[in-house]
Symmetry: C2
Subunit: 227 residues, 2 copies
């Protein structure tokens, strides 16, 4: 039970920022921190959505499965991101910790109650849903019409944009995750990365293949067509 005394807005900025100072009596919303080991499930598709989550540290993948095991990752959630926000009663994705992850969670019901009275919170709920929608729309274009090289380039640019640290891109997810996000196989992702490496567009840091430095953002961007 954290944040008893802190303002809510400091803890769930995506939902509460831009809110005018609220009534002197602070709204009490339960905020618990919770940790998940690498690879464990945070919630499953079609489970009731009782909580909304925010990544504190770590990374999360949200995905859907076909009955034969094919997987489509809809989004990666990094530090600060809010996920599991559903308007309907059930989750539409399964969420798993990619690495050891701690999240902050709040009762969805509490959020709804606040949204009832606070117009700003309600609008921010709409804004977050909209930004999820925008991402999904852009991703449809990628999945439906882009080549493997274009997809990988777009992925690197997206991760670079979202990354806090300038310079080195530290990818928390494995090649298979990237592949399932981009609608490819892990081998194709690996080949695309190798090709970008051969073209001196990116470099690997040390011996790990999860830390990438973008040597030529401009050339990289030329592979990610505008729309």
């Amino acid at each position: 039970m954290l944040a008893r005394s802190s303002t809510v807005s400091a803890d769930f900025p995506g939902i509460f920022t831009d809110s005018k100072p609220r009534s002197s009596a602070p709204i009490r919303i339960f905020l618990n921190e919770f940790s998940y080991k690498k690879g464990t499930e945070i919630f499953g598709e079609k489970e009731p959505a009782d909580y909304v989550y925010q990544v504190v540290t770590g990374a999360v993948r949200s995905y859907k499965l076909l009955s034969d095991g094919r997987r489509q990752i809809g989004a990666f959630h990094l530090a600060g991101d809010i996920f599991g926000l559903e308007i309907g009663s059930d989750h539409r994705f399964t969420a798993e910790a990619i690495v050891d992850t701690t999240v902050r969670l709040m009762k969805r019901r509490s959020l709804e109650l606040v949204a009832e009275s606070d117009v700003t919170v309600a609008r921010n709920l709409l804004n977050m849903t909209t930004s999820n929608l925008r991402h999904a729309e852009d991703h449809m274009l990628l999945l439906g019409r882009k080549t493997s090289l274009e997809r990988v380039a777009a992925f690197l640019i997206e991760m670079d944009r979202r990354s806090t640290a300038a310079g080195v891109l530290a990818l928390p997810m494995c090649r298979r995750d990237i592949a399932d996000y981009l609608g490819l196989t892990l081998e194709t992702v690996s080949r695309a990365l190798s090709r970008l490496h051969d073209l001196d567009i990116l470099g690997f840091v040390g011996n790990t293949q999860r830390q990438i430095v973008l040597r030529d953002r401009e050339k990289l961007a030329s592979f990610d067509l505008q729309n």
Copy 2:
């Protein structure tokens, strides 16, 4: 200027239904009907989103283009559907009439004003955005992971579900539109339909290839894997 005297809810059911009876003085919202000839643009991507649209008769496609002309259709809008609803200031898709189409339109600004005061309208905005999001999420799975036959089967099932008339599916869009919706080529779509025809799962009505009768919904559904 229609609907001067009618209630708003009757005209924009997607936004206003489930609303409790509002104040005795009806809210005045401009409602114009407008017609577009087959193939003409209703609005373009990145244009300011001043209006929200509802299909009265006809059909509309919403799509994004890559700079080299590759196209991804994000959604088809049929009679009754609301489209062009943006939270940001600009449209994120281009919308075109697939056939001769009449739409009803309202000033977005008016809608926002109503949403400010009427919580139910605000919630319905959120619900509509959410249902767009759900569709996009499902479509990502289709585009990223399904085979051509699965995609076409899913498309037929979706159109059948949305179609008002039971029995015959009257598709307003051409094969190229279907292909750009499913991330395929028109030839692949045609081959998939032929294959379903050969399997006695569907039939064509008369000499036209746009009217389809589903002979065996169960077998069709078996091609569209659950997730």
